[in-house]
Amino acid sequence: MATVELDNIKKRFGGTQVIHGVSTAIEDGEFIVIVGPSGCGKSTLLRMVAGLESVSEGEVRIDGERVNEREPMARDIAMVFQNYALYPHMSVRQNMGYGLKIAGLPKSEIAAKVDEAAALLQLEPYLDRRPRELSGGQRQRVAMGRAIVREPKVFLFDEPLSNLDAKLRVQMRLEIRDLQNRLGITALYVTHDQVEAMTMADRMIVMNAGRAEQIGTPLEVYERPQTLFAAQFIGSPSMNVLDATMQDGVLHLGGATMPAPTTATGKVTVGLRPEHAIADPEGPLSLTVQMGEPLGANTLLHGRIGDGSEAFTISLPGVHHATAGERIAFRVLPENLHFFDPETGARID
């Protein structure tokens, strides 16, 4: 159990900088998800916390102590990888106990800890199998077991569910979260999947190109995205973004005008989540439908807004039969409009 602090962490590989100063303080027992598109530096950031990658600048503190120079082993962390990284020639029991064996624990103690972890992870029937005789989900559980037996201060996960199929992913998501809750161990979890981030995180760090765009709870990020990137990355289908102008407190958007509660003036970028469109024959906005995607509980309608050429998607509850070319009028609540600076992408309130 521990706190983790990142203090303006930077990373350079040779001449190229891939992490441009990330700072955050993680509380004891918190589950933090680092989310961002592939290549944005999530793994690099996590590996710096783990000690698998040196820190070019800044400080990593675990429980208030600087650990930049410590070996991974000396940091009291345990990491779970996407590829499980199990030893193929060892049984599940040996894999789980290996770290303890190296640490020189007596055999009886190792056996007790392995049994306890196996019970926690429901791995008891498989203890004498080899990793290749297990399914992907079971292998990932063994990898977690190996992490748990060491009773680390911090869990680090690098896309642990990416190799699993969709259904198993949902189940494992819950299992990991439940396990972390019960053990109360601080966790850092990396994923590129925003749904995973939304459902698992206490707080999340939205990363883009080596920078933390926003750090906050999932709902904070969803409701008040601080940058255009965070706005579009979180939420599915992603937020619609349109160029618009504000004049005298009135928003000119997609051929319509509406009052808007913002301090912005002149040209602005407006974001509108598809699920915030409310079908209303009297609504000021309209969508020329090109394609419909019935999902059962709701229907996604893709098309163009108004007479313009900008692509737009709305999500309406229930089943909607819309044919291509049809126009659907809708409105949005003023509080569901997000305003961003067209130059910097920063949120304007």
Binding site: R47, A50, G51, L52, E71, P72, M73, A74, I77, A78, M79, F81, Q82, N83, Y84, A85, Y87, Y98, G99, I102, A103, D158, R304, S309
Partner: protein
Amino acid sequence: MVAAMNDRAAPLMDLETTGSGLCLRLRGPQTVANARALAAKLDQQPDSGAVELDLTEVGRLDTAAAFVLVSFRDRREQAGQEVTFTGLRAGHQSLLDTVARSLPSPTTEPKTPFTFTDALARVGEVIAGGVKFILALLGFLGLFLARLARTLRHPSEFRFTSLVHHAGAVGLGAVPIVALMAFLIGVVLAFQGSTQLRQFGAEVFVVDLIAISILRELGILLTSIIVAGRTASSYTAAIGSMKMHEEIDAMRGLGLDPATVLFVPRILALVITLPILGLVANVMGLLGGGLMAWIDLGISPAMFITRLVNGTDINHVIIGLVKAPVFALIIGLIGCHAGMQVRGNAESLGRMTSSAVVRAIFAVIVADAAFSIFFAQIGM
């Protein structure tokens, strides 16, 4: 000619002949729905003179239509005719630019003249790369020696099982191929040597020829080349695949040092077994040579042995075997180093594996040449 088409999907297009050529005036939405028709229409245009495409009255333009327009322009321009877009809106302009940028460049790359500076730059790059590689290898050597020294102080950390396993795989496994190779080399040397030496009536010197060339050079060099091919690649593949599957990271997380666990036993196994393999090669080479000398020249085994013992300096054997541990170190270091260079995908694993073999063989030959010069200088 055609002024407008009444087909719903067909593009609306006006044609006008201007002073310098054609002016095509496009109208209405140009999208994927009518892109095919638009392409057909453009293809029908006589290919003479400059063409102006006026997009003033185009409503929506999507990537499909933009693709048709851009590829029309490219085709014409390759034929030496000018095509200009006029009346573009900002959105259309940027769409056309984006599409033009993302089109694949023509497969026949234009030949860039290869200048002296290019040649110089390339030579410089190769040399800089080589120096960097050698420095990295030296760093690796240092790491290996440091860990070896550490295991001497903490023998419990030493991976004895691993050493035995690798010595078996690298040494014992290579005995048949090395023995066969050396035997055949001996046969070839005796056969070629005897044909030449017979002309001078100096058949008996074939024994010296075989002994010196095999004991001093060929035995150990060819063994090293075979081992480089077998072992450098297997080290790279094994370590590289562990690297790829993040097993090495997991190991470090468990507090295991990859250098102690992976490199030391592997390299040490080579250093121990390569001299033995060299010895096997020497014996088999002499055996093959002796057999051939007996069959072809009638030199009896007894005579062969007498001649071998009296006429060959023991220095040759020593020189041959002194090289073995050094070659072993080179092969092991290159194999392990290449494995650690593997990045997350299978393609890089394959590339590093084959490059490890090539580098190891090359390095062994260079080292052998260096040894030759060294021993010649000190008069051995």
